[in-house]
Amino acid sequence: MIKIENLEKIYRTEEVQTKALNNVSLAVKEGEFVAIMGPSGCGKSTLLNILGLLDEPDGGSFAFAGTEVAHAPERRRAELRKKHIGFVFQSFNLIEELTVAENVELPLIYLGVGATERKEKVAKVLEKMQIMHRRNHFPQQLSGGQQQRVAVARAVVNSPSLILADEPTGNLDSSNGNEVMELLTELNEAGTTIIMVTHSEHDARYAHRVIRLLDGQVVLEHAHV
C-alpha cells in the first residue's frame, strides 16, 4: 500500500540545515502493523508527516496505493487524507471549542457525508471506543486516556485504510496506554494498516514489524515473533 524510495527531507533555517531524513526506503503492505522507533530527533515524526501527506519530501519517491504522490498538489493530498488516512497524535490535538461528538464528526463533514449518516457513524464509533457517555463534553473536561480514545475515534470514524499514530501513548499512563494499544490492535485485525511511532519497546511489541531510525536513516528492520 505504501512504497517510498530514497526519501529525503531537509529543514533549512537561517543558521543551520538539518537533514531530517536521508535516503529512507521502505514498503508497507496492506493490513500490516508497523512500529517506527529511534532516539529523539532522528526523524520519526518527519517521516510520519510525509507518509500522512502533511508534508512534502525534498527528494525521492512516494507511492500511495500505487500512485506517485510525493509532490501532488495540496488539493489532491487533502482529498487522499480525508478519504484514506486517520491520524492519532501524542497530544491528542482535539479542537477545544468543539465537543467530543463534534470533534469526531469533523472528518465526515469534510467528506461531505449527510447529517443523519454522520450521526449514526459518530454514535457507532463512540460506542465502540466506550466514550459515548461523554459525547457532549469538551476535551478539557476529559482525562488524557479519554481524550486519546476520542482522537482514535475521530481517526477511524470514516474507516480509513491507513492509521498513522505519533506516540499515541506518550502522554498516557500504562493502563490507559495499554487500552489504546488494544484498540489499535483490534482495528488492525479488522484490516486497517497501522504505522505507529513509539519510544516504548512494550508498545512496539504489538506491531508485526519494527523499523529503527537513527539520524534520518533506517538502520534496522526486523519482524516480531
Binding site: 502533511l54 495540496e74 487533502a78 480525508k82 490535538n93 479542537i95 477545544e96 469534510y110 467528506l111
Partner: protein
C-alpha cells in the same frame, strides 16, 4: 528598563516584521492625522484671542424681534459706543468701527504714489481695545483727531519708501465710487495683523470723521439701528453678569416706540467660532467644524490604538509560554505590565518621529486646502501636546495587552490556553463595527459633497456668470460713467458692459423694507446702469429693460419674480411703488449662494452708477480683450492701472468652505479606510494565530483551503456587514443635515449609500481574504509541532 524595552522592540521587529510594520504605519498615520488636526484646531481656537484685553473684551450685538423670530445682528447704531462709555461705569473703553469689507478698496495718495487699500473707520480707543501692534504713535492719541490716519507698516512703506518716519506725513484717501476724499496726517503705524485675526485692514481713520462725512451727527437717534460694530472693554474686576443684565435693558430705556430690540454682548474671542445666533441665542458656527474634526482626530487615534492592541494580543499568543514561565519564576504583575507599557509607549514615540515627518510633508497640501498657514514650529504648546498625545496613545495602546496578558493565571498560560473572554471578543467586534461605520460614513459624505458641488457648478443660475470680468472704477471712469461705458462697449471683444453700485454676487446687503398695500417685506436693492441685465444675461418675464429711449416721471425699477410673489402684485408692470415705477419683471436668478432661497430683489436704474463696472467678454479671446481693456483704462484714467476679477471667482468663493470640507472628507475617508483595514488585517492575523492549531488539525482531517478561508473570514465579513447596516442610517442623517443648509440641493439617492457599502465591503474583503488565504496555506505540521 529602557534598554530592555528597546531590545524587546528590536527582537519583536525581527520576529514579527509584518506586525511591526502595520503597528508603525497605523500609529504614525494616526498620530500624523491627529497632529495635523491639532494644528488646525489650535489655529482656529487662537483666532482673535491674542488681544491683551481678552476676557474683558466684548462686541455688542443687537437682537431684533421679527415675525419669523429673533434676528441677531452684529451691526449696531452709530451712537451706541459713546453712549455706553458715558452711561456704564464698568466700561473702560468703547469704540464704534465700520465692519470688515464694508467698503471697496480706497485709494491712498501720497506725493506721486497711489496704492489701493482696505479702510476702517474706528473710534478713538480702538488701539486700546485691540492689541494691533502699534509700532509708532500712542494708543490714546492716534485716533484722537478727525484728520488722523494710522497706516499699516506695509502701506507706509509702499507710500513713503520706508515706514520708519511716516508719522507726521500727509496722505489723501479717496473713496473710488463716490467722489469722496480727505487729506490726513499719519499719526501711527501698526505692524502686520496676525493671520488668525478676523479683522484685516490696511489703515484706520477716525470714526468721528466718518460721522461728519455721512452727516450723521444731527440726525442720529435711537430709533434707527445701523451696520456698525461696537466694541467694549470692561474695567478689571467688573462683574460680567451684572454688565450683561444692564446692557440688555439699555435700549428699552432709550426707545419710546418699537421696543422689540435688545442689546447683548459676545466675548470678542468667541466671535470667530461662535458666530451664529438662532432666535437670539448662540447656536454655534465654525465651532461645529472644530468639534467635528477634533472628534475625527480622536477616532482616528483610538482606532489606531485598538489596532495596536489587537496585534499585540495576537502576537502574545505566541509568547504565552514565556509569560507563563516568567510568572512561575515569580515576576510580579506590575513588572509585566510595566514591560508591555514601556514597549508600547516607546513604539508610539518611534511612530511620532515618522508622524512628524509625514506632517511636515503634507502640511503644504493641507494649508492649500484649508487656506491656512500652519507650520510645525518649536512652540511650547505644540511640543507639549505632541508629547502628551503620543504618551497617551502609547499607554492606551499598551494598556489592553498589558493588563489582559499579565492578568492571566500561570496554569492557563502554560497550558497555552488563550480562550479569550466574551468581553474581549465583544471589544474586538465592537471595534471592527465602529471602524467600518466610520469608513462608510466618510465615503457617503465624500460622495454626497462631491455631487452637491457638481450640482452647484452646473445649476442654471438665471444669469451667465462665465465670461464676465468686473473692476472697481476710480477717477475719470467713475466721474464720467456715460462716456466711459460708451467707449468701453466699442472695444473689440467686449460684448456688453454696465456699471453698478456695490457688488452683484453675495450682496450681503440686508434688505431694506418696502411697503405696498399694508404688506412690508425686506428687499435687496442694486443701483445699476443701462444694459446691466443684458450684460449679466438675466432674462425678462414681462415688461422691458432699462432704456434711455423711455423717460419716466419716476425712478425706473425692474423687480424679480420673488418680489412679485412676496407682495402679491397683480399686473406688476407699470405699478408705482414708493415713487418707483416697475418697468419689467426679471426671471428669478441666484444673486446669493444656493444656500439661500431667491429673495425679493430690485434693480434700480441709476444712469450714474459706475462703482463697479461689469464687462462681458466675447468667448475665445478673453486674454486679448483684457489686455485691450487694461490699456484703455489706463488711457482713460492716467496714472491708474486696472485690477480686475472674474465674476465666476466670486461665485466659486461662496462655496469655499464646502469645497474644503469635501476635500478634507476625502483625505479622512482614505485615512479611516486605511487604518480600518490595518485593523482588519490585525484581527484576521489574530484569529489565524489563535486558531493556528485548529486550522492545522482541520487540515490534517482533510479540510480544503477554501473551507479554512471561509472559517477565518466569515465572522469578520459579517461584522463589516453589520457595520454597514448601522452606518447607513447614521450617514443618511448626517448628509441630509448638511444638504439642508442648501436651499437648492441634490436629491439623496439610494446608490450613494449602497455604493459606499459596496466599496467598504470590497476593501474589507480583500484585506481579510488575503490574510485568510495565507493562513489556509500554512503547513499543518508546523502548527502541530510546537506543543
Amino acid at each position: 528598563m529602557l534598554q530592555h524595552s528597546l531590545l524587546l522592540i528590536y527582537r519583536n521587529f525581527k520576529r514579527f516584521k509584518t506586525t511591526f510594520f502595520i503597528n508603525l504605519v497605523g500609529l504614525s498615520v494616526g498620530l500624523a492625522g491627529a497632529l495635523t488636526i491639532y494644528l488646525w484646531v489650535h489655529d482656529e481656537w487662537s483666532f482673535d484671542r491674542y488681544h491683551a484685553t481678552t476676557g474683558r473684551l466684548f462686541q455688542v450685538l443687537e437682537n431684533q424681534r421679527t415675525a419669523e423670530g429673533i434676528n441677531t445682528k452684529y451691526g449696531t447704531a452709530p451712537l451706541l459706543a459713546e453712549a455706553l462709555a458715558e452711561e456704564m461705569p464698568e466700561i473702560k473703553y468703547a469704540a464704534a468701527a465700520t465692519p470688515p469689507k464694508f467698503f471697496p478698496k480706497f485709494l491712498l495718495v501720497a506725493k506721486e504714489k497711489i496704492v489701493r487699500a482696505d479702510a476702517k473707520f474706528a473710534g478713538k480707543d480702538f488701539f486700546h481695545i485691540f492689541s494691533y501692534n502699534l509700532l509708532q504713535g500712542d494708543a490714546s492719541q492716534v485716533l484722537a483727531n478727525k484728520t488722523a490716519v494710522v497706516l499699516s507698516q506695509e502701506m507706509a512703506a509702499a507710500l513713503f519708501g520706508t515706514a520708519a518716519n511716516a508719522v507726521g506725513k500727509t496722505v489723501e484717501w479717496q473713496m473710488g465710487m463716490a467722489d469722496l476724499k480727505q487729506t490726513c496726517i499719519v499719526t501711527g503705524v501698526f505692524g502686520p495683523i496676525p493671520a488668525n485675526s478676523t479683522e484685516q485692514f490696511d489703515f484706520v481713520l477716525s470714526f468721528d470723521a466718518f460721522k461728519d462725512i455721512m452727516k450723521m451727527g444731527e440726525s442720529m437717534n435711537w430709533a434707527e439701528d445701523g451696520p456698525f460694530n461696537t466694541f467694549v472693554v470692561l474695567h478689571e474686576g467688573a462683574e460680567e453678569a451684572q454688565f450683561r443684565t444692564k446692557i440688555s435693558g439699555l435700549l428699552q430705556r432709550k426707545l419710546t416706540t418699537n421696543k422689540e430690540r435688545a442689546l447683548l454682548v459676545q466675548p470678542y474671542a468667541d466671535k470667530y467660532l461662535h458666530g451664529e445666533y438662532t432666535n437670539g441665542v448662540p447656536s454655534g458656527g465654525r465651532i461645529e467644524y472644530v468639534q467635528l474634526f477634533s472628534a475625527i482626530a480622536v477616532f482616528i487615534l483610538v482606532i489606531a490604538c485598538i489596532n495596536f492592541m489587537n496585534l499585540a494580543t495576537a502576537k502574545a499568543s505566541r509568547r504565552l509560554k514565556e509569560i507563563g514561565v516568567k510568572k512561575t519564576l515569580g515576576a510580579g504583575r506590575f513588572s509585566l505590565v510595566a514591560q508591555y507599557l514601556a514597549e508600547s509607549v516607546l513604539m508610539s514615540f518611534i511612530a511620532l518621529l515618522i508622524a512628524l515627518a509625514l506632517v511636515e510633508l503634507l502640511l503644504p497640501q493641507f494649508n492649500a486646502i484649508t487656506g491656512k498657514q500652519l507650520a510645525l514650529a518649536f512652540k511650547p504648546h505644540l511640543v507639549l501636546s505632541a508629547l502628551g498625545i503620543t504618551l497617551i496613545t502609547g499607554l492606551l495602546a499598551g494598556s489592553y495587552p498589558a493588563f489582559y496578558l499579565s492578568g492571566l493565571r500561570p496554569v492557563e498560560v502554560l497550558k497555552g490556553r488563550l480562550a479569550g473572554s466574551v468581553a474581549d471578543l465583544w471589544t474586538r467586534k465592537g471595534l471592527v463595527v465602529f471602524q467600518f461605520m466610520l469608513s462608510v460614513l466618510f465615503i457617503v459624505c465624500v460622495w454626497v459633497v462631491q455631487r452637491q458641488i457638481a450640482f452647484v457648478q452646473s445649476k442654471d443660475l438665471g444669469y451667465d456668470r462665465n465670461g464676465i470680468v468686473y473692476f472697481e472704477a476710480a477717477g475719470n471712469a467713475a466721474q464720467q460713467p456715460k462716456t466711459f461705458l460708451a467707449e468701453l462697449k466699442r472695444l473689440p471683444g467686449v460684448v456688453n458692459a454696465s456699471g453698478m453700485w456695490g457688488s452683484f454676487v453675495a450682496t450681503n446687503a440686508s434688505g431694506v423694507p418696502m411697503e405696498w398695500q399694508g404688506r412690508k417685506i425686506p428687499v435687496n436693492h442694486l443701483g445699476v446702469n443701462y444694459d446691466m441685465l443684458e450684460t449679466l444675461g438675466i432674462t425678462l418675464k414681462e415688461g422691458r429693460n432699462f432704456s434711455p429711449q423711455f423717460r419716466t416721471d419716476s425712478v425706473q425699477i425692474i423687480v424679480n419674480e420673488a418680489f412679485v410673489a412676496s407682495l402679491g402684485l397683480q399686473n406688476p408692470v407699470g405699478q408705482l411703488l414708493e415713487n418707483r415705477r416697475i418697468v419689467g419683471v426679471a426671471k428669478d436668478f441666484h444673486y446669493e449662494s444656493l444656500h439661500e432661497k431667491v429673495k425679493p430683489f430690485i434693480f434700480r436704474l441709476e444712469p450714474l452708477a459706475a462703482g463697479t463696472i461689469l464687462v462681458r467678454l466675447a468667448p475665445g479671446r478673453e486674454q486679448e480683450t483684457i489686455g485691450r481693456l487694461q490699456r484703455f483704462y489706463s488711457a482713460f484714467n492716467p496714472g491708474q492701472t486696472l485690477t480686475y476679477h472674474f465674476l465666476d471667482e466670486d461665485y466659486q468663493a461662496q462655496y469655499a468652505a464646502e469645497r474644503r470640507v469635501g476635500v478634507l472628507a476625502q483625505y479622512f475617508a482614505g485615512l479611516a479606510i486605511l487604518i480600518s483595514c490595518l485593523g482588519l488585517f490585525g484581527l484576521t492575523a489574530f484569529t489565524a494565530e489563535r486558531r493556528r492549531k485548529e486550522i492545522g488539525i482541520r487540515k490534517v482531517l482533510g479540510a480544503s483551503e477554501f473551507s479554512i478561508v471561509y472559517l477565518l473570514s466569515s465572522d469578520l465579513t459579517k461584522l463589516v456587514g453589520v457595520a454597514i447596516l448601522l452606518a447607513l442610517p447614521v450617514s443618511y442623517v448626517v448628509v441630509k443635515r448638511w444638504l439642508e443648509s442648501f436651499e437648492y440641493r441634490i436629491a439623496l439617492e439610494a446608490w450613494y449609500f449602497l455604493g459606499a457599502g459596496l466599496v467598504a465591503v470590497s476593501v474589507a474583503w480583500l484585506t481579510i481574504g488575503a490574510q485568510a488565504w495565507k493562513a489556509s496555506r500554512a503547513n499543518p505540521t508546523l502548527s502541530l509541532r510546537d506543543e
